[in-house]
Symmetry: C2
Subunit: 102 residues, 2 copies
DNA sequence: TTATAATATGAATATATGTTCATATATATT
DNA sequence: AATATATATGAACATATATTCATATTATAA
């Protein structure tokens, strides 16, 4: 029988994983993603709902967009953001559930 | 019918979740936890294996211990660390698998 | 074209974080 | 008791990060 040895961690995977968790490591970004559970929202809508600076929200959304955790569509002057990574959203949901039971 | 509305995020849960993901957001800590998939290891063993400063490993282990992601036992001069949060370790494993397929 | 609204961007800044260095603590050995 | 080994700790430092401010961009409406 072979040992159930865990595979090596290559540099690229390590970077990707750490970046993804970094996205989830900030309260503001968690709140934004948490909001997007309910569906797409405009930047100003997110900012109002969470009582955040528009610029701040825009910066954070860019961060999330670069990691492809969210996507957007434009409708006139308004840009609607929505989730774009089921796996990460599921992990976030699980972790919130897990943490909220304490 | 009611809408499937997502519950509010209270301050404490938000903090806990962000802290947990912060633990997973650093490459060094990911490498340490990844090593611990295979079982308990001493501080010096971790440091050697990952080619890290002993002090650095010690600091990171303290961080992980404070979040109860790892636990330790002493045997003489040696202290052995091991994983202590199945849920988080499962999430890490999933995320590594997910990321390594790209 | 001018004005208005929604969003994005870059610079500035304060704070957080990761790592190293020097040293302290705890245990074992002689 | 003196020495050696394993780990922990605190200070220092460099870098990263989150937020704000001022302004640019893009699209609509007057």
């Amino acid at each position: 029988m072979e040992e159930n040895k865990i595979a090596e961690l290559d540099e690229e995977t390590l970077f990707l994983v750490s970046q993804t968790f970094k996205a989830l490591a900030d309260p503001t970004r968690i709140r934004i993603l948490h909001l997007l559970f309910n569906g797409e929202l405009s930047v100003s809508n997110i900012a109002e709902t969470l009582d955040l600076n528009q610029s701040n929200v825009s910066h954070q959304l860019r961060f999330l967009k670069n990691l492809r955790l969210v996507k957007y569509r434009r409708d006139g002057k308004t840009i609607y953001y929505s989730q774009d990574d089921e796996h990460v959203m599921k992990i976030l949901q699980q972790s919130i559930d897990h943490a909220s039971h304490h």
